[in-house]
Amino acid sequence: MIKRRTLLGAAAASPLLSLPAFGQTGDSKVLKYVPASNLTVLDPIFTPAAVSVTHGYCVFDTLYGVDANQVPQPQMAAGHTVSDDGLEWRITLRDGLKFHDGEPVRAQDCAASLARWAQRDPFGQALNAATESFGHADDKTIVIKLTRPFGPLLDAIGKPHSRPAMMMPERLASTDPQTQITEMVGSGPFRFIADEYVSGDRVVYEKFADYVPREGAPEWTSGGKQVHFDRLEWQIIPDDATAIAAIQAGEVDWLGSVLTDLQPILEVHPDVNLHRTDPYGVMHVIRFNHLIPPFDNVEIRRAVMKAVDQVPFLQSVAANEADREQCLALFPCGTPGVEEVGEGIINSLDIEAAKQAVMDAGYNGEPVVILNPTDIASIHPHGLLAADLLEKIGFNVDLVETDWGTVVQRRVSKESVENGGWNLAATNWPAISINNPATNATTRGLGDSGWWGWYKDETMEQLVVDWLGATNDEEAARIYLDVQNRAIDQVPTLPLGLSYRSGAVRADLQGALQGSVDMFWNIRRA
């Protein structure tokens, strides 16, 4: 017999049992994306942060993009001409380009954008040093006048990562390069919805109806950027496990990054596919401080490099073998023109031999401070492993474990270790952002004005100048190889190999592209 209480209980419970799966997108016109980190800086010229680049490619467009072989291809540009002496470049804009405020894109806008970019970006600074002016001949023609030939000009203005040269209206591009731009008006395939932006929670874009895509298939940052969603919503989910649960539940469509420990969960999930956007991966390095002992001594740096086995370093950040690769070079293996010139040098000594080499090089027992951020999962294990290795080969190690904010502050100190300085710090670079002599900060020899660690090498800098001025591919390739050999000989930085990050995409989405960062054109719901 059914009792009254049983009936009431069942009635009360029935709405709960019939609840739909809450939060599942269901809306085929909205793409929900979870970036790997919070978007705090909107200006993609101000910062090289990957998340700002991803945002930048939504809002802005570039004169040139690159294809899968990293060859520059016209994007906003219809084409270009170069004067016979190589000192004047004229770039013509495509027809019909508009900014999100309805204004047409003019050559004046692009010239101002290039001028600002060239003051912030290292590749741009190299171009700037060889440039007389960024100007225009008319509304459709940009004119770049050089003081000396600059072979990789299109590579520079078409670079796909770490401050790509993105075009803005002249009124924004005239902003001081040291000041962030917060008004987001570009000519890219998506329009930024400022009213819905909540830093740390949500970034919203709408498809830009007046965007004119190129003809042809998209490839990396070039080709036809056809958008198949009316709205793109970024949701910031700080906890990796929560993000994994959200994509399994169908609450989001795309995760920009999946923690290596959590990948097995998604590998077997029928409704989610892992997606590796950047095929070149991330290069892990340990930077020496070249200003103070003991790593101001090249023999000691060489001894350490000869003792390094990259395998444990890579295993500590990439669980799957397919997600890591040894790279015995200071330039990222797999990118055009890179050879493993460190073969037979890196990891060529066992512990005892390395210990002897360190002593022979003149190490006198001074403390070696390793800065290690405990809150960055892709760096922290490398500090621990470096400390272990250095102790084994006879160094007096002082491992400073602290948070990232403290590391970046202390890392710029040029003082002795007793006065707050440091000797070693691990970090990593998107391989695509250090794939040539001019952009690879880990090998540049600029000294005080260069990357922290302040490696000074005039020979290297002359090679960079020669490479930038190379007039043909053969000459450029030869100089590039010289640069790689010089780097492995002088050891400005310790190479630890490459790892590859995967994101995850719901199985009903097709057309996710490869590129330097996640891009939201071409993708569509099946």
């Binding site: 939060g23 649960a245 970046v408 970090t427």
Partner: protein
């Protein structure tokens, strides 16, 4: 009473002033440089210096403190170093989720904990009492993020009843709003259920030994009436105190829960800001939290006069 309230409100002024100076000083001496974080990994020292100058971080402590405190007194908390948004805008965007989480958490906690505590006291020494106290120990001991993951896995991922993460504003409807909060609020409430149930039980046990309770029972008053009218009302002062402290503590619990369930509240805002040394945001949020703490304490003290007419200020 009015003069008491006025005195208490006036007393908050030196407290808040001290908090302002303390927080500013603490951040000033804390290692970390927002200019270096903002400049990024590629930055040269010259670029970092230029940003530091642009942000005014190279100025002396008194100049910066004076400028900030003057702004605060005028209702201007400054601009975020990273987003370049006004801090007041960022805080306004985050208040609703945290406030909602706080309210729903405490409603769940009180609705469950007080009856449990009364029941445990009534069934003192019996199986029910021990079961409730076992639950209380667990709720007290298991970290909230563990409870959060287990509940999310069960109720959201496997059963699909509730969302895994995210917050739906109240403006989109009370039911979607409540559903987005149930998991995080219940997770956070487990701790408060445990502590409030224990306090309720302990206080009720003491009250139930009193002569007037025996008298009430002797007069034939129903057991429900004895427990909830005669005993519980007299046990209310310590319970309200714990609830009040609990409301204040929810703010700290929100830091973890908002991260686990991706709620865009003040807890997450302050964690993110601390990690990247966004000083204006940290200072403003801590200042607001301290003000809320003071206010809650005042309200608790005032509530005593309502619960117990013998208390007068």
């Amino acid at each position: 009473m009015a003069s008491y309230i006025l005195r208490r409100i006036l007393a908050t002024i030196p407290v808040v002033a001290f908090v302002m100076l303390f927080v500013f000083s603490l951040l000033y001496i804390t290692p970390g440089d927002p200019a270096a974080i903002l400049a990024g990994d590629q930055a040269t020292q010259a670029e970092i210096e230029a940003i530091r100058t642009d942000l005014g971080l190279d100025r002396s402590f008194p100049v910066r403190f004076l400028e900030w405190s003057t702004g605060v007194l005028q209702g201007d908390f400054g601009t975020s170093i990273f987003t370049q948004l006004p801090v007041s805008t960022m805080i306004a965007q985050r208040v609703e989720p945290t406030l909602s989480l706080m309210v729903v958490t405490m409603v769940i906690a009180i609705a469950i904990a007080v009856p449990l505590g009364v029941l445990a006291a009534w069934k003192h020494g019996q199986f029910v009492d021990r079961a409730i106290m076992l639950f209380a120990v667990l709720g007290f001991s298991v970290p909230v993020f563990v409870i959060g993951y287990v509940l999310a896995w069960t109720l959201a991922l496997k059963l699909g009843w509730l969302p895994v993460q995210g917050y739906t504003p109240f403006s989109e409807g009370p039911w979607p709003w409540l559903r987005s909060l149930l998991l995080p609020a219940f997770t956070l409430a487990t701790f408060y259920i445990a502590i409030i149930a224990r306090i309720t039980r302990a206080t009720m046990l003491e009250i139930l030994q009193q002569d007037y309770i025996r008298t009430a029972r002797g007069k034939g008053v129903s057991e429900t009436s004895v427990l909830f009218v005669h005993a519980l009302r007299n046990a209310s002062v310590p319970i309200v105190t714990v609830v009040g402290i609990g409301i204040a503590l929810v703010i700290s619990g929100a830091v973890v829960i908002e991260s686990v369930f991706a709620l865009p509240g003040l807890g997450r805002l302050i964690v993110d800001s601390i990690l990247r040394r966004d000083y204006p945001v940290i200072q403003a949020v801590i200042l607001i939290f301290s003000f809320v703490y003071v206010l809650i304490n005042l309200l608790i003290d005032l509530s005593y006069t309502v619960i117990d007419p013998r208390i007068r200020y």
